[in-house]
């Protein structure tokens, strides 16, 4: 199926609100923040998933059935996530979903998918609560915040040898979950944080909080949250003369982090945990080159979404397009993806996580650190 057809489908969906699709196709939803403040991540999801679907269709589809993608926009809002999940299940009759992006969307939506017997594979939601509730239909091809928090905490203690750690979060499911996970590992190492505070998503002025961080002489600031708050936050930290090391998680993996900070000089030296370079796998070389040839930089979650689509397609193929059987199958089998071989435990988490530390430089790019 060509891109033009996908586009036409989307346009008609946008116009009509809902369209019953032909049953001969395998309908798969791609759910994430396609609009709103986090739309950059939605674009990553869509680029990865649609490229994978195209490659699978070009190779004959799933047992001859073509994949038809449906874009579902949750804007990272839990309420909207539930309503688009219902739409995907009821009017689009999707059998599987790649998404959502934000944990606070993936978790409420997963209940809808479970009731409807729809397979859900998220490329990005890292909150432990997504898989910890024992739903049979949920999987993720990324790590968990507790694993991510472990990596950050051991880096802070072992490599940086920091004494005064300030832990800041954005009060969201992802941000607070990540900050709490890091904090508990940090405390297990015997380091007690000097400050633990939340900021408000959507605000831009964090000067009061920054002054407070300065007053406790923090040498490390750990931030659980997304780039739209991390950008102004790190800028104001630097403007008030703090030299504390700024560490965050995979919520800031976007070049927009630099533009919201205002200048690459503010993100220089910022550290973040993220899965080992998703473009570095031998199995994904061709796909990476194809993306670059098409003018798409496979940054952030593009490759994860590609891999998530491959997992969905392979499982559906093995289970004769029955999503419930496909979920069963995934619990005991390995899948070859562009990010290497993936296998899942009984909860739907990856057996092996691959978090490493990255550093932003003064050009506004990030690269993996040797650890």
């Amino acid at each position: 199926m060509s891109n033009a057809v996908i586009r036409k489908t989307l346009v008609s969906l946008a116009v009509a609100g809902s369209v019953t699709l032909a049953h001969a196709d395998v309908v798969i939803g791609v759910a994430g923040p396609h609009t709103g403040a986090y739309a950059a991540f939605g674009a990553q999801l869509w680029n990865g998933a649609s490229a994978a679907a195209k490659a699978i269709n070009d190779a004959g589809g799933i047992d001859g059935e073509m994949i038809k993608l449906v874009k579902a926009d949750d804007a990272c809002e839990p309420k909207q996530a539930v309503s688009v999940a219902n739409r995907l299940v009821d009017s689009d009759e999707a059998v599987a979903v790649v998404g959502h992006f934000c944990s606070s969307s993936s978790i409420p939506a997963s209940n809808i998918y479970e009731e409807a017997g729809v397979l859900q594979v998220t490329p990005a939601s890292t909150n432990p609560g997504y898989t910890d509730r024992g739903l049979p239909n949920v999987f993720r091809v990324c790590g968990r915040d507790d694993q991510q928090g472990d990596v950050a905490a051991s880096y802070i203690v072992d490599t940086l040898g920091a004494k005064n750690v300030a832990v800041i979060h954005d009060k969201g499911t992802y941000g607070k979950g990540l900050a709490d996970a890091m904090k508990s590992t940090l405390n297990a190492y015997g380091v007690k944080e000097v400050l633990y505070e939340g900021l408000t998503r959507g605000e831009k002025d964090f000067n009061a909080l920054v002054t407070k961080i300065r007053s406790v002489d923090a040498d490390v600031v750990y931030f659980g949250g997304l780039h739209s708050e991390a950008g102004p936050f790190v800028r104001q930290l630097r403007e008030q003369g703090s030299k504390a090391v700024f560490i965050s998680g995979d919520g800031i993996v976007s070049e927009e982090f630099v533009s919201v900070a205002g200048s690459p000089k503010y993100v220089d030296g910022v550290l973040m945990t993220f899965g080992a370079d998703p473009t570095s796998y031998a199995a994904g070389k061709e796909v990476v080159n194809q993306f670059r040839a098409d003018g798409i930089e496979p940054e952030g979650y593009v490759m994860y979404s590609y891999a998530a689509m491959q997992v969905v397609a392979e499982a559906l193929k093995q289970a004769d397009l029955d999503p419930i059987k496909a979920a069963d199958w995934l619990h005991g089998h390995k899948v070859e993806t562009v990010m290497g071989t993936k296998s899942f435990d009984e909860k739907g988490d990856l057996l092996v996580s691959d978090y490493v530390m990255y550093e932003w430089d003064d050009k506004g790019k990030y690269s993996m650190l040797d650890m």
């Binding site: 959507g202 009061a208 407070k212 739209s228 927009e256 919201v260 200048s263």
Partner: protein, 303 residues
């Protein structure tokens, strides 16, 4: 000690921005008794216009800070003023004389239109402008220091000058006298030959220009913005206007400063998680004791 002084600086600069935006809410309420919910989005539009102005100026090779800032201010204030005029013309004037509720709905609709228009035309991405003015003044206090960035200093000066000029216009000029007359009694003012429709338009334009001033200052200071940036700051500014007494010009400025200071001090000394809870509790307490705000006049029901 140095920390408290630093928090005062933070609060003052945040509060003066709230004050500038609050002026738009309070003047419009004063003159036609409606809450212009699209005002936060006018501020948002001005952030985009700021970025466009800076891009245009650098396209023509203009780099020096005073010229860029002056050019950006003039361009943004003009374009945003036009937005303010058009909004009044399109969304509110046709509803003049109808119930307050329908104007309110029209305002909410205008707010949604502006957000979606910007999202579609500019994209949903986070946008940024380059840093124009960096560096800071440092005061040593005890064994710590208080840092005042040049940008913060500029914000404080520019917003106080803006408020001063506006107060002068309202109190001392003929235009200001006509505004005050229209506010007191629109019917009588029009009998005496004041074109009240024109005055109402002017008030919308003034509100939009003050929001534009805030938009330029904040955008240059924080660097990043998106199409949703007007929502929270709009609500905060509205709170400031109510706090100071909606309808009262000095009240809006005072309310803004009090809100900014209380947020900064509470976040700095107690907890940033609950600073909004504190601000709104303060609002409730003030409204219990002074139902029309700090400097507001109680509304007299005419029989």
């Amino acid at each position: 000690m140095d920390i408290i002084l630093q928090q005062l600086v933070n609060g003052l600069s945040l509060g003066s921005v709230y004050g500038l935006i609050a002026i738009g809410y309070t003047m419009v309420y004063g003159i036609i008794g409606m809450i212009n919910f699209a005002h936060g989005d006018v501020y948002m539009v001005s952030a985009y216009v700021t970025a466009i102005a800076i891009a245009l100026l650098s396209f023509f090779g203009i780099e020096s800070f005073p010229v860029v800032i002056l050019g950006t201010l003039i361009f943004t204030i003009f374009v945003t003023g036009v937005y303010g005029w058009v909004i009044e013309r399109v969304a509110y004037r046709p509803l003049r004389g109808s119930s307050r509720l329908s104007i309110l709905i029209s305002a909410i609709g205008m707010s949604l239109i502006l957000q979606n228009y910007v999202q579609i035309s500019q994209g949903a991405k986070q946008q940024g402008v380059p840093t124009l003015l960096s560096g800071a003044i440092r005061f040593d206090v005890g064994d710590g220091f208080v840092q005042l960035t040049y940008m913060k200093l500029f914000i404080l000066c520019a917003s106080f000058i803006g408020m001063g000029v506006l107060t002068y216009i309202i109190q001392k000029t003929k235009l200001g006298r006509m505004c005050r007359a229209t506010q007191q009694d629109p019917k009588m003012a029009s009998i005496l030959g004041i074109d009240t429709d024109k005055i109402i338009s002017t008030v919308f334009v003034i509100g939009a220009t003050m929001a534009a001033l805030a938009g330029v200052l904040v955008t240059l200071d924080y660097g990043g913005f998106d199409f949703y940036v007007g929502f929270i700051i709009g609500i905060k500014a509205f709170t400031a206007a109510v706090l100071g007494g909606i309808g009262s010009l000095p009240g809006a400025m005072l309310g803004g400063i009090i809100l900014g200071l209380s947020e900064a001090l509470f976040a700095g000394l107690i907890s940033s998680d609950y600073k909004d809870v504190f601000s709104f509790s303060l609002l409730v307490i003030i409204l219990i004791f002074r139902p029309s705000g700090l400097l507001g006049k109680p509304e007299v029901e005419k029989v």
